[in-house]
């Protein structure tokens, strides 16, 4: 069993909204007042890695779970 962890580093986040834009399931939302992205509902995460791909500052940390590179045939 994998221990899946997901976290957005609030200090590193520059509030570009990109991760919240690409998230297909609204697992990530954007707080317009604080100008920070936050995890709304991690249960909805599909582990599609799109947020990791678009984050310009690497504020998103994901560990555990299968990486897409690992599971390519």
């Amino acid at each position: 069993m994998l221990d899946f962890k997901y976290d957005i580093d609030q200090e590193a986040c520059i509030g570009c909204e990109k991760c919240a834009e690409v998230c297909p399931t609204m697992a990530i939302d954007f707080d317009a007042e604080k100008r920070k992205a936050y995890v709304l509902d991690i249960d909805q995460c599909l582990v599609c890695h799109q947020c990791l791909e678009v984050c310009p500052v690497g504020a998103i940390h994901m560990s555990g779970g299968l990486w897409q590179n690992d599971i390519r045939m």
């Binding site: 899946f4 297909p24 399931t25 582990v47 599609c48 678009v54 599971i71």
Partner: protein, 585 residues
């Protein structure tokens, strides 16, 4: 908050709304024709929908050598690999390419275009930097399978000198007499109201599966294109045909994600809440079994039931919905038992189930998995002719927003609509705003601005309105429909529209977009419900419990829907049976 005004009106030859597979393909094609092209997306370019879903291209045109689809792999893998006539016939009868299951009421000219063209269009993807259009290298990505296709296309379009606008929400089409001359909307980042004038406009906004509670479509798929075309007075067709996918996870605390066609999955057993097999019962009653069905649980599904998986998939969701409806489900779901699947059948072991559930502490090797149907895509859409031109001058539609659905259809309709739209734009008279257009634009801008002024209340919260629509649609306009439920559904939708829509509010740009989406979702939901009530038969995706038969005598025609002064106007149009007609009826 106040919307600023853009400094000037943007002008372009061809405007493409939506940057999924169809929109990108259309934009590239129009740019190839040498015109100025502007590609607009309400989210990030290419990231909204197709990045997640273009895996369909891999599944539908899968290379034959992969032992991927079980014993029937040849039949399934070669779905699109026959001669043009064979592919055309299959698409028309099963409706898989364009409509995913509405036999014989497709536009045969469009189907023929897809059958003739899809191979060329797929190979052509290499020209846009897509490494492998046959998608072997992304088999194994459980999700976001479309990324290797979509992102090269985005880059290619930019390299060609195409203009793009990200995070720009188009709210309405500007109509001048019978012609669409552009759009209005707002740019989220610059917080300003924008007017875009275009000689030709292509709507490629995708479907509307988010109107359902159970769906695995991305959050932004809210049917904006349908709603704005409807408001502009364009014709829409076959909105009742929503495709449902049976193989969607219904576990609590787990996303509603679909389970890919893997060797392991097709070896599983379907059970109801009481642990009994049920599919066989429905299959026998309705004649769904093939002549060589073994009905042996150890065989993979296509051998067990004697039919190719693509065809069986039309029946699985019906049987499962029926079982759940009759109260024999478990927590509104049925069970897929994968415990006895032998290890060697998990040839393709890194599929979606594995990747998703291992990280959620869910072991499908120990207990059965809850699955239930979920809305997948909209088979109907904006009505077009075989040139992908809508009923309005200068307005074209491609992909799921257009008359069909599926990735082969998206690449073909994208390419064709891009080409035809650019021919039109080249010849068309220049566009100019008249005084009454400016007045109308000011009015629309006022309506958007008003959303910031409305007192925020619970009833006007865009997300809660969305949730209400989703619940209502799932409950009353779901997989199996009856007159009574549909009427109740329409009443409920009207109630939401009358009571809650006027109280809709927005705080900032993101919630302004959500508010626009919520309003569009109501319009689209009503279209689906009204069309579903109108078609009094069962055909493919549209299953009515009170009219369970396919009625070729009375209903071999298209349901067309259009806005009129008195509200929604529905009428039928005969289907042109050009090359093939049904054997019976």
């Amino acid at each position: 908050m106040k919307l600023k005004d853009a400094r000037k009106v943007i002008e372009t030859d061809v405007l493409v709304i939506g940057s999924g597979m169809a929109g990108l393909r259309a934009a590239i094609e129009a740019r190839r024709a040498g015109l100025h092209v502007l590609l607009v997306d309400k989210s990030l370019l290419g990231r909204a929908s197709s990045s997640i879903y273009a895996g369909g291209l891999g599944l539908e045109i899968l290379p034959k050598h992969l032992p991927y689809h079980g014993a029937g792999e040849k039949k399934f893998a070669s779905y699109f690999n026959g001669t043009i006539e064979e592919v055309f016939k299959k698409m028309l009868e099963e409706g898989v390419s364009i409509g995913w299951g509405y036999p014989y009421i497709d536009n045969q000219r469009i189907l023929m275009t897809v059958a003739c063209d899809y191979k060329l269009r797929q190979e052509e993807l290499r020209d846009f930097g897509v490494e492998d259009p046959y998608s072997q290298h992304f088999i194994g990505r459980p999700v976001s399978m479309g990324v290797p296709i979509i992102l090269p296309m985005v880059n290619h379009f930019k390299k060609m000198g195409g203009a793009t606008l990200e995070k720009t929400v188009v709210t309405d089409l500007i109509r001048q007499k019978d012609r669409v001359i552009g759009v209005i909307g707002f740019e989220m980042d610059r917080q300003r109201f924008t007017t875009i004038l275009a000689k030709a406009t292509i709507v490629a906004t995708g479907g509307c599966a988010q109107v359902y509670k159970r769906t695995y479509s991305p959050t932004r798929i809210t049917g904006d294109g349908y709603a704005m075309a409807y408001r502009a007075g364009a014709e829409l067709w076959e909105m009742e045909l929503v495709a449902f996918c049976n193989w969607t996870i219904a576990e609590p605390k787990c996303p509603q994600w679909w389970i890919p066609f893997s060797y392991g999955r097709v070896s599983g057993k379907l059970r109801n809440g009481l642990g009994e097999p049920f599919f066989e019962r429905y299959a026998k009653e309705n004649g769904w079994l093939g002549p060589n069905a073994t009905l042996n649980d150890d065989d993979v599904m296509d051998v067990r039931y004697g039919k190719p998986l693509t065809e069986l998939d039309h029946y699985f969701w019906r049987a499962c919905s029926m079982e759940i409806r009759e109260g024999r489900g478990d927590q509104d779901a049925v069970l897929l038992d994968l415990r006895d699947v032998p290890e060697d059948r998990w040839y393709y072991e890194n599929d979606g189930i594995t990747a998703l559930n291992e990280m959620r502490n869910f072991d499908w090797k120990k207990k059965p998995l809850h699955i239930a149907p979920a809305a997948e895509k909209q088979a109907g859409g904006i009505y077009t002719d075989e040139y992908f031109k809508t009923s309005l001058e200068g307005l074209y539609a491609a992909g799921e927003a257009g008359p069909g659905v599926s990735i082969p259809f998206c690449i073909v309709s994208g390419a064709c609509s891009g080409r035809y739209a650019s021919w039109y734009a080249r010849e068309a008279p220049p566009v100019r705003l008249r005084d009454e257009d400016i007045k109308w634009i000011e009015k629309k801008k006022g309506e958007l601005q008003r959303l910031f002024v409305v007192e925020p209340t619970e009833a006007g919260e865009p997300r809660s309105i969305k949730k209400d629509i989703k619940e209502t649609m799932w409950r009353y306009v779901g997989t199996l429909r009856t007159e009574k439920e549909l009427e109740k559904g329409i009443q409920e939708l009207n109630r939401i529209e009358e009571e809650r829509l006027p109280r809709l509010f927005a705080r900032e740009m993101r919630s302004l977009r959500e508010a626009c989406e919520a309003a569009n979702m109501i319009t689209v939901s009503k279209m689906i419900a009204e069309s579903a009530r109108f078609r009094r038969e069962s055909r493919g995706l549209h299953q009515r419990l009170d009219y369970p038969r396919e009625d070729n005598l009375n209903w071999l025609k298209n349901v067309i829907l259009q806005a009129s002064e008195g509200g929604m106007r529905l009428f039928t149009r005969p289907v042109e049976l050009i090359w093939l007609r049904p054997d019976r009826g």
